[in-house]
Subunit: 197 residues, 2 copies
DNA sequence: CGTTGCATGCAACGTCGAGTTGCTTTAAGG
DNA sequence: CCTTAAAGCAACTCGACGTTGCATGCAACG
């Protein structure tokens, strides 16, 4: 069994174009209408593709979402490297704030949080965040190397503590963190981390 | 016009029972299935009520949700008063952590965040959080009175900074904050706040 | 350059839940 | 006990979902 010659699958040209268009359309629809009210027919219309194509290639809405998010969140982000932890973190924090304030990304974050229950979408959040943390980690590592932070500082924990308040204030009470608040978040964590050892 | 005698509305007995049953059923359905996949027919079935009743009394799913949440989130929470900020905040933080870890409340939080866009649901989040902050504020005020915190400390900001990392780590990367992490969040903010002045 | 057959487009269909409507039944308010 | 607001019930329309059969197009291979 399986001895048959590889069945000549078609990955180039049109198929690739369709895949890309559908991925884009899925993310667009997701950020526009949120996870609820995300219909395959809508996505098909946005992508300029027939709905049967989507049904045949992805089957369920969840599978499509998972695939689109995996393909879409691979884009890299610029991590600041200014020479000091304080300004690095401040820049990162402002960047995070601006990101989560944009309605587009808001819906995406909420969708990731919502998907934590679903079988198919459960690992999307962790996967996404693993990428973000991996990218941000150097900030802390450089700081440790410079002697600005204790050597046993855990990068991920520190980042969570800086970014957490911003995140919460936006997604919880719905406040818009101003620059002063952002800087305060950075300072408090730096002071607290240094004095903790 | 409007001179007619008050039209004898019927709020007692059956109507009240129906209202309560529907409210309960709505919250149950919400926490069970999330905001997506929240159908009026399902709610009607859970409440043991005919769906036409719901359609006639509330009209849209959003209006029903708004009403049910407003009625449901009025329940009070116990705010710790142990004699020191540190243990007060630690107790509060653990309480928050346990709350957001329960799938039931998870869905509710996500629903509140999701509703930020909708016209009808937009003010539910802020309203809910205003209640929580009002309840938690005394912890900080007592601390200031005791001289444990600088007099110009803003209670809401401090609470955001303590709770934020917990919230983020649960709803973002999906980590489960252990007691050590929770305590660390409290300590860092207290140290940072004291040294900041 | 021609052939093959995989992937897509297209159209029609069955199914199901949402939401509506007219009428009947129950029970609150007097 | 009477009136009538409010709830129940049944049937209906409508639209979106998802499926299926067939025609078309184009990538892969000779």
């Amino acid at each position: 069994m399986e001895g048959s010659p590889s069945p000549r699958r078609r990955t180039g040209g049109r198929s690739a174009r369709v895949t890309q268009a559908v991925h884009r359309a899925t993310l667009a629809a997701l950020t526009a209408k949120g996870l609820a009210g995300l219909s395959i027919e809508d996505i098909a219309a946005r992508a300029g593709v027939n709905k049967t194509t989507i049904y045949r290639r992805w089957g369920t809405r969840e599978a499509l979402l998972a695939d689109a998010l995996n393909a879409g969140t691979t884009r890299q982000i610029a991590i600041p490297d200014t020479g000091s932890v304080r300004s690095d973190l401040a820049a990162l924090a402002r960047q995070v704030r601006d990101t989560i304030l944009a309605p587009t990304n808001r819906n995406l974050m909420v969708a990731l949080a919502t998907g934590a229950g679903h079988e198919t979408l459960a690992d999307l959040g962790p996967r996404y965040w693993a990428g973000r943390f991996a990218a941000s980690r150097p900030i802390v590592e450089r700081a440790i190397a410079r002697g600005e932070l204790p050597p046993d500082t855990d990068p991920d924990t520190l980042i969570i503590q800086v970014v957490g308040p911003l995140w919460f204030s936006v997604f919880g009470p719905g406040r818009v963190p101003d620059d002063a608040f952002v800087d305060r978040c950075v300072d408090i964590v730096l002071i607290g981390t240094s004095h903790h050892a």
